[in-house]
């Protein structure tokens, strides 16, 4: 550096000025860090259905399209409603979990086969196993729209008075079952009778 003394004198005087940008940035980084910490809540899609009566529905059965099945048949009991389709690969992921859960719980899992081909759905269940108490078919997506389904798979928990208690978006896992579903069920039902 040329003219060292002048430089350092000037430096001492104005050094603070050049530290301002980094100070401002550190403050900003803190705000962003807090934002990241809080953001998981922001990302969650809250269903307006939670705590509200489930929409009334009635759909043809997969086993026999002439007969229909719906909220009428489920009045007064706990049930789990699982929306799936053979075209949905995440549904394949969760299928094993559903099979395992069905073994341990007495709550009926009602499958809604969404926008699907009946023959394909039947062979899917024959091949991979059938965790469902009943499967109804939603060909034109009416139930999916009423229930506000974003994409398969989604799983709802409905209590005996027909109120939706919880909605799981994405695949069901044993951990989710324990934490969100079993904890809301009466102990006898969660454990199952077997």
């Amino acid at each position: 550096m040329s003219s060292n003394e002048a430089q350092t004198a000037r430096g001492r005087l104005s050094f603070n000025r050049f530290l301002i940008p980094i100070a401002v940035f550190m403050l900003l980084a803190t705000v962003l860090a807090v934002g990241v910490k809080h953001s998981p809540d922001v990302g969650v899609i809250h269903s307006p259905l939670i705590g509200k009566p489930a929409p009334v529905w009635s759909l043809p059965l997969l086993a026999d399209a002439r007969r229909s099945f719906g909220s009428q048949n489920l009045r007064g009991q706990w049930y789990v409603l699982n929306v799936w389709g053979t075209w949905c690969y995440a549904c394949r992921d969760e299928h094993q979990s559903l099979l395992a859960i069905a073994q341990h719980t007495a709550v009926p899992i009602i499958g809604i086969d969404w926008r699907d081909d009946d023959a394909q759905a039947r062979s899917w269940l024959a091949q991979l196993g059938d965790p469902y108490a009943t499967v109804a078919t939603d060909h034109d997506g009416r139930l999916a729209i009423d229930w506000g389904v974003y994409g398969a798979p989604e799983t709802f928990l409905v209590n005996p008075s027909g109120v939706v208690l919880f909605k799981q978006i994405g695949p069901m896992t044993p951990a989710v079952w324990q934490k969100e579903f079993a904890s809301r069920l009466p102990p006898g039902l969660a454990r199952g009778h077997s």
């Binding site: 980094i22 705000v31 962003l32 998981p40 990302g43 690969y89 394949r92 999916a144």
Partner: protein, 652 residues
Amino acid sequence: MVPELGHFALILAMLLALLQAFFGIAGPALGRDRWVAATLSAVAGQFVMVSTAVGCLILSFVNFDFSVRYVAENSNSALPLFYRIAALWGAHEGSLLLWIMLLACWTLAVAIGTTRLPPRFAARVLGVLGFLSFGFLLFTLVTSNPFLRLEPPAADGIDLNPLLQDPGLATHPPVLYTGYVGLAVAFAFACAAMLEGRTDPAWARWTRPWATAAWTFLTCGITLGARWSYYTLGWGGYWAWDPVENASFMPWLVATALIHSLAVTDKRGLFKSWTLLLAIVGFSMSLVGTFLVRSGVIVSVHSFAADPSRGTAILIFLTIAIGSALGLYAWRAPTLRSNGGFELAARESFLLFNNILLVIAAATVFGGTIAPLIADTLGQGALSVGAPYFKPTFLLPILPLLALLSIGIHANWKRGRLGDSRGALFTTLALACALGLAVVLGAYSGRQILSYVGVALGIWIILSSLVDPIDRWRRKLTLSRAVVGMTLAHIGVAVVVIAISLVESFTVERDIALAPGQSARVGSYDFRLLSVRPVEGPNYSAERGAVVVSRNGRTITTLFPEKREYWVRQQVGTAAGIKNEYGTDLFVALGDDLGAGRWSMRAQVRPLIALLWLGPAVMALGGFCALSDRRYRLARAGAQERAGVGPTERPA
């Protein structure tokens, strides 16, 4: 096999980027010229590896390889080839890969374009770029690898987000990202200058073409995005002050300030430390923008690829990159001194005002964008900031900026003698006021003061910009391409100002409900619904309306708005029916089926919206024109000798 090859290429690219950073920064610092030379090989290698990775992902999309998770999540066997290729950047992982690819392209361009600069300085620039590449590659490989497989493979994909199935997807993200990433080059030049301890303004001359190029691409990218949202999002808005739109706008404002302040540093050797800071802040805005889009900390219609867990990783990278650059700045900037002053009415002071006002504008946008975050941090709960805040606060710095632009064009370097051009100043001002009055009162018979001010300012800028070129042309003097480019860019700004003033004030918009055969009046046009019929697309079914638009009984056109339902994702998308008539857009979007054959619709008549797309096109043309100026190439040719004699070449 192909995805594994891509994955492997990406890992090699990361290692090469690390080498590039090491050789580029350590080589010049330790004075090892063989390390300096090795930087170039690392750049070339990294470019080849990143291209291979991108090629592999494209191949997986083209071949319907649904065993690759990213492909299964973002395409479908019914998705047309065009969108399967563009789906590459349709979600988080792929858009990061696009970012990396573009950074590799810019880096290669810098390596080729700086062969005439002092090798040690060029190596430092490449080293900083290598560090950025390394950060992004590491982030991609650890948190967002696009090559992960699905076990078992999906039978079919869950399709590309329908909102993205638009020709805009092919152009808007790559062009905008080219601009974003281009600011990294200016950032790297600034860091290299600080690492080297340069006190001369030569680096500003070398940075100018790169900053101009980045600015030009940003201009194009933002406009393409505005157009896309206008045509596809269904409700005819081109700008909503959405956080993600702001995230692209803030770097543009800072880049605009930067290209002006670089000019002052280059020509007059002033504003040295300020220019350095702007170069850092410009790229920081790009990084913060990426962070806001990708982390999901701010909810936005655009955050289709948000994931909070990745936010932390970007934040760490952002803090290291920006923090060290600002640290370097705090260390080096005090040694910079400006020699020579300037008078109040000299060109320098107008450019200083330009910079201050642009930075204030960027700060108001930034403040509004992160206000919800700050409220959250302070525990004040949810806060939403929208157009009612942005519109007036943004105008506050922008209106004086436009007025000063018209005056400042006439100012000379160093000396404040505006008196010489007083005649031109007042003639153009009077003419602009009269013409603005004629346009607003005459053509639109409107009374909005703001639209009048906007139109008059726009016309004033155009007239003032033309005074000097016309004068030179009459005196048979040559015009450099840089001057032509600057004039075009300023005219482009003016066209945008005029367009926004008129579009915002004189758009007629009505929500109407019509049964087939009925019609409604919107402005001076009649919209008559003919029919609504179902149609089938490649991967969606739609209701297509036919709406006849007429004026004074004369049929102008038939619009075909569609409401689409995409099969796989069960998502509804709209495609508005739009026809441009002498610069006025006739717009209709289909709403809901109200039963009994009646449909709700939104109809708009937007005058002169065509100017809104024309303005930025003229600005970009100006940018490219300035880039083609011979002076930039001559400056590069002359750089070596100058730097050879200069006292600045010393190890840091």
